[in-house]
């Protein structure tokens, strides 16, 4: 192959790149990255002072908790589930931090691990219910959301101000990089991001999550630990929500039960815009970063503009969500048609996303296999 037409290699690479771009696993994330760059470029052209490292870091600082929650949500959605309790768990974590710090006067070094452990256990128990009793993740995490919010209000209906010196010191901690600076929350978010990428792509647990999302029955038949992985996924999401809650506490320095209302919607939107398929099995943690980045940039653009009202944020996010879902459907259909060579035979019945080359391979095998006696 190398001998024939070597000077066409760049062209072939281009075509290969184009083919990869059309891949339903890569296309949405590529579109997301391009959209993020376009939005940021638009802001830089339209408003003076937008194009700076500080604005870029500001995106991370202001959305650190959302990013952390979205990372957990990405794992849940890749595994084929959904977690509606994240916003409520964030609120519960802020209340727990505030109560432990102000009422019980515990040191930060004790509070944070306890809160994170509570979040992980909360998620794990929801995961256990979902797995062992075959309940719908939607309903169970909905009950989890009610329970967490209700617990918040049972603890206190007031907003608790945090006056602990440790918390103030932590929240004012800054690292200056170039012309911008990052605070504790942003650093935690970056650390969580690195951990998320490592877990998703370099560990056995991550592989299992993708396998279960692709096809749970197959994963079970392959002998993968489905129960452990599913419970682990919800525990991870609970952990991320609790960590998001800790970062949120550092951001606002108070605990309140009405905090982070509707955050589950933002997290799901960021994950979907980041190219994670809601049918499970496909998605990248890094995509959710750009999803959160797009949501944050829209908010920053509206702040910079000054004449647009805040509700445009929701409308634009809804429109983007719609566009990305349509894009997912289109690329799924395209992949299905290519897989079945235009016969429509290999089309997924319920939008299931199979591995790209699975169907032709199976058909080839079937054709080559000797007839059964």
């Amino acid at each position: 192959m190398n001998r024939t037409l070597p000077h066409f290699a760049p062209l072939a690479a281009c075509r290969r790149g184009a083919a990869r771009f059309g891949d339903p696993r890569v296309l949405p994330i590529a579109v997301t990255v391009l959209l993020f760059i376009a939005l940021f470029g638009f802001g830089s052209v339209m408003y003076t002072g937008f194009f700076s490292l500080q604005v870029l870091f500001g995106l991370l600082v202001d959305n650190a908790f959302l990013l952390i929650v979205a990372i957990g949500m990405t794992f849940v959605i890749i595994s084929g589930g959904i977690d509606l309790s994240v916003g409520a768990v964030v609120a519960l974590a802020t209340i727990l931090c505030a109560v432990m710090s102000e009422k019980w006067h515990w040191p930060v070094a004790v509070i944070v691990p306890v809160v994170l452990l509570c979040g992980a256990l909360y998620g794990a128990s929801m995961g256990a219910l979902i797995h062992y009793f075959r309940l719908q993740p939607f309903i169970i995490t909905l009950a989890g959301m009610f329970l967490a919010r209700g617990t918040c209000f049972l603890i206190t209906t007031q907003s608790i101000q945090i006056n602990s010196a440790d918390f103030h010191a932590l929240s004012q901690f800054n690292v200056t990089i170039g012309s911008g600076s990052l605070n504790t929350g942003a650093l935690i978010a970056l650390a969580m991001l690195a951990a998320g990428i490592v877990i998703a792509h370099l560990t056995r647990f991550g592989r299992n999550v993708y396998a279960i999302g692709g096809n749970e029955r197959s994963a079970l038949l392959m002998g993968l630990p489905v129960a452990r992985t599913k419970i682990g996924v919800y525990a991870l999401s609970g952990f991320c929500s609790a960590l998001g809650g800790v970062v949120f506490t550092l951001y606002v320095l108070s605990g309140y039960g009405l905090q982070a209302q509707g955050m589950e919607l933002d997290a799901i939107a960021a994950t979907v815009i980041g190219g994670t398929l809601l049918t499970g099995g496909v998605g990248y943690v890094i995509g959710s970063v750009f999803g959160v980045g797009i949501l944050g940039t829209i908010q920053t653009l509206i702040t910079f503009d000054g004449t647009l009202s805040s509700w445009w944020t929701r409308i634009v996010i809804g429109a983007l969500l719609c566009a990305f879902c349509l894009l997912q459907r289109a690329s799924e259909r395209h992949a299905a048609r290519r897989k079945s060579a235009g016969t429509g035979m290999g089309a997924p019945m319920t939008g299931g996303t199979r591995a790209r080359n699975a169907a032709p391979l199976d058909q080839a095998k079937l054709a080559a296999a000797p007839p059964r006696a």
Binding site: I82, L129, Y132, F133, R134, L135, Q136, F138, I139, I140, L142, A143, G144, F146, L147, R149, G150, T151, F153, L154, T157, G257, L265, I268, A269, V272, L278, T279, S309, S310, W311, W312, T313, R314, I315, I317, G318, A319, L321, C322, C325, L326, R329, M349, G351
Partner: protein, 352 residues
Amino acid sequence: MTRAVTLLRYLLGHPLLWPAATLVCLFAIDVAHRANFLSITLLSGHLFGAPVDILMNAAPLVVVSLGMTLVIATRGIDISVGAVVAIAGAAAATVLEGDPSQVVLAFGAALGVGLLAGMWNGLLVAFVGMQPIIATLILMVAGRGVAQLLTGGQIIPIGAPGYLFAGVGYFALVPCDVWIAIAVTIVTALIVNQTALGLFIRSIGVNPVAARLAGLSSQAVVFGTYAFCGLTAAIAGILISSNVRSADGNNAGLLLELDAILAVTLGGTSLAGGRFSLAGTVLGALIIQTLTYTTYSIGVPPEATLVVKAVVVLLVTLIQSPAARAFAARQLRRAAGMRRAAENAQAHPGTH
């Protein structure tokens, strides 16, 4: 005698037994707490009393839950109803703000907007083929923005007497809300049970592929259920905005979608589709409203209502889940087996 036994067996096996029993239990708690709970007084031509109160406040939830029942019966879900309630109220308020005499136009605008929202959801689910949660999530996220766009981010007060009649007026001793809820229930029941539509919806819920292969235009039916759900959400939007005499784009119908889904599940409709009961849904909605009323009147802090709701959702889903029932049966059998083994061991101490 045998007839009584048959009747008893029929009643015990009836799917509405559990929701009805729950409702009766809640009423019993209320009566135990306050003996004159069930008393209704006639005051200047209006009926007053706790049961009337519960019926009136449950009306929007009943209406929304009926639409949600049909959507869930086709294996779908509509989480945008809360946002549609806000949009419908905002649309009516916008019309009335321009000209308070245009009451009919206001009703029309609210219903039209709701129908449009439902059709949008139906389009995405039935024809584009999106997952129902995601398709309706789009409107749930964008809907409140649209409602605030209509109201300009303000809470618009509504003063038109004709419009307020729907939410605070009385007709033949009973609040209008209740009449509207009854009317919607009857119309829905007639459409679903007196035509083949109920059968179509059930067959799509049981097996969508088989329904399509049997020649059923399932896309049209699914589209229709979402459009109907949008319409019922708009009616609820009219009731709510008229009851509080204002349209609030941000808070009207907040978390209503969750209450509606809860009402539908409480009523015995399977979330896996195919099995639904409109009467059960009405009972479910009444249970939720009575539960709220009971927690308030007993003096449990109102904040605890959410916790109670969470426990109820968990219990109901566990009862509905075959895996959980099998687990419970296994535990019971094991316990019985252990007791028998213990009895055996006591009876024949020498054998072990």
